[in-house]
Amino acid sequence: MSKLTINEVDHVAKLAKLTLTPEETKKFQKQLSAVVDYFNELQKVDTTGVEPTSQTTGLLNITRNDEIDVTNILPPKDDYFVVSSILNKNDK
């Protein structure tokens, strides 16, 4: 049976930015070990030469045209967009 150690559970929790109590760490160690152990059945499957699947649509590089919403901008001046200033001259 492959088992996650307490240290491994703590390490994974740290990577995932989760704060666990010692009781939680113990509980999750037991529960996650059972699940990971179940996964080991996959080692029986021969996957030599099989390509991985990360999505099922077959679509690639779906893009749309960039459209500028001109309703919220001030009229352009000499090929520049003018926006209101966000800093005051007096700001140090």
């Binding site: 996650l4 491994e8 559970v9 994974v12 929790a13 990577l15 995932a16 930015k17 989760l18 704060t19 666990l20 939680e24 999750f28 529960q31 996650l32 059972a34 699940v35 990971v36 179940y38 996964f39 059945e41 996959l42 080692q43 499957v45 996957t47 099989v50 390509e51 991985p52 699947t53 990360s54 999505q55 099922t56 649509t57 679509l59 779906i62 749309r64």
Partner: protein, 470 residues
Amino acid sequence: MINKIPQSIEDFQNGLKNKSFSAVDLVGTYLSRIEKYDKDLNSFITISKEKAYEDAKRTDRIINEKGQKAFEEYPLLGVVISYKDIYLTKGIRTTAASKVLEGYIPEYSGTVVKRLEEAGSIMIGKTNCDAWAHGSSGENSDFGPTKNPWNKNYIPGGSSSGSGVAVAADFSLAAMATDTCGSIRLPANYCGVVGLKPTYGSVSRYGVIAMASSLDSIGHITHTVSDSQKIFECTKGVDGKDSTLKNSQNFIVGQNLKIGIPKEFFEGGLDNEVEKSIEEARKVFEKLNIEFVEITLPSTKYAISTYYIIQPAEVSSNLGRFDGIRYGNDRNFFGDEAKRRIMLGTFVLSSGYYDAYYSKAMKIRTIIIKEVEKAFEKVDAIMAPVAPTPPFKLGEKVSDPLKMYLTDIFAATANLSGIPSLAIPSGLTKNKLPLGFQLMGKKFEEDTLFHLGKMYQNKTNFHGNKPQGY
């Protein structure tokens, strides 16, 4: 108050057309039923009463102005819909049934909510579910478990638990839900109603809180297959916001349809009553001249392990954005199941384990897809159980996550391969709990499933079974 709640969009709209009742009457009836019965069942997290009455008044005004024509212009005019609480709804609290988003009010509604509103439907509220859609029983909700209206000691199925119950107990005519691995089909199956998990890439995920992005399907729960089709016609199609979408053409379903029975789904562990009910359903189809063929999907036995590696990996990434800064509360507010999945996902993606788990699972996903494609060379649909047993008791599996995960064993194939699947009720156990089956189809061929489902429901009346006491 309306005494007899209409059970289909057709009945609903006929009542409105004939002025047997108004949309305001309907909304009032549903709201008083929710008030009366939902304290026990806990299928709603938020009721959008004000908005529902507003929309109902608008509906009645449109009908008065346009008469019959109104229903051509708005195909779902007056249809009262509830939404799983992971659909973003502008101005209405959306929690994902998690304390992390306890007070979150979205700035916008997603594509599906918008499309359904544009089709004339009325939103009545947001339904309970397993937090972040993680679960098979509804018990992982941070807002308390939902109960099965057929027997309150039993779970209604998850993760879209409240959506299944809302339809079964007549709190709304239809309910929107999501299916990442059975989360629509399971509650539909356990509550005795119809659930559609559409093809991955047919309905927009824009504005639905992401669980596992390569698997999430946006579908719905209804009483009849015919209603399921009507709603799908409104929700599907490219929206320019979800880049996985493709438009599909409707097509005329051919003659001489063949249904495949995957023998692996019936080997060992399948409950007797579930198996018998599917056998009966098969006979109904055979009388309608549908031919049955035995098929084989040998690698589907690995589907659940494959799924429980890929899904948590994607979950750990999607839930990374909940850091307590951008939305809601901090990560200490995650419940146990979310923590387990985040950690499991982080583990299978972590250095030293990536190849053994994540990479391996992605390759086995390819093998499963190839087997499914091969099976569909010979058949038009695949018939299988939705779950290995009828509904189980509240609390039965909560302390054993692995046991809970195995509930999804027959659901995983459709999500891993992206194909559509329709769950249809097929009777009751001797303890009066719902039974059903699923029909899986080729990608973007939902029409075949609707065709077969309607044939079945024309010949049977299991969808007319109602839980007692409501």
